[in-house]
Amino acid sequence: MISQRKKLNKMPKLNLIPILDAIFIFIFFLLMSAQFLEIYEIGSDAPITTTASQKPNEKEPLNLTLEIRSGSVVVKTGLDGNVYKRVNTRNLAALNEVLIELKNKHPEENSAILKPSKGYEYHKIVKIIDHTREVLKPNVYVTAYDEKKRKYPSKTLFDKIIFETQN
């Protein structure tokens, strides 16, 4: 009677050996392929100049240019390079807002020309690129169009970065 009750109380044992084998193999694979420095890339093309005549009734290109100086970023638009706004480099959130405004006005545009001064440091340029490529505020989106001209919310601003040199 007692021995029967003992048998009933004993929990069945799980065979964990195959699971442990699988976990060990998985861990070895992950350790071998691990790279603890998270690296990403920012793409940029060398500027290519082409001559194209503007068709009548065609909208003038935005030609967004960011002139980066030691203390400020000058946002210029249009083929004549009209100054749209000046932003302090300490307040890059303001630059992001200006670019959101421009993207909403020109949703079809996706390129920005960067003109840093010769002594401007690389990591500061990267910060400006970050604020140019996407909307950094949470819950804020810009309107974008897909191939069938349908609207959709997007975080992408001007993700095609082209470098140019200041004279």
Partner: protein, 152 residues
């Protein structure tokens, strides 16, 4: 009366190991490794005196020729010093090296590569960047990929 003690042979039960704590560690290790797993095929072996800037970019890098410039403006390709980017508009030694690399790639029957991964020290001035980009573009590498460190 003489007491007799019968030495009963008790069956030795197999020793049971408690592997709960081991499993806990394995699961933690697994989660940590899975979180830090990066699907890129880009392997970065940084030279000395080089630290890359932080960025919010989330595009994974791809395999291409890896050009590194350290804080002394020395240029390295495949852990080999190629020249210096301190002065001049076009860096001749870099141009020759890249041109040769591009030719080798095209001899293999593959179309000539255009992408180049630029790993630049974070405090380098734009003038140095410009020299590197200008020389690379002249050698046929017009698609620049700036390698940066993830920053959440």
């Amino acid at each position: 009366m003489r007491k007799t003690f019968k030495r009963g042979r008790t069956k030795a039960e197999p020793m049971e190991l408690d592997i709960t704590s081991l499993l806990d560690i394995l699961v933690i290790l697994l989660v940590f490794l899975l979180k830090s797993y990066n699907a890129t095929n880009l392997k970065l072996d940084l030279v000395e005196a080089l630290s890359i800037p932080d960025s919010k970019a989330r595009t994974l890098g791809a395999h291409a020729i890896m050009l590194q410039v350290d804080k002394r403006s020395d240029i390295w390709i495949e852990q080999k010093k190629v020249g210096s980017a301190k002065s001049g508009e076009k860096i001749d030694s870099l141009y020759d090296f890249l041109k040769q690399k591009r030719e080798i790639a095209s001899v293999d029957g593959v179309s000539k590569p255009k992408s180049i991964n630029l790993v630049l020290h974070k405090t380098l001035p734009y003038a140095t960047m410009q020299r590197i980009m200008h020389t690379s573009a002249l050698a046929g590498f017009t698609d620049f990929k700036f390698i940066v460190q993830g920053n959440y």
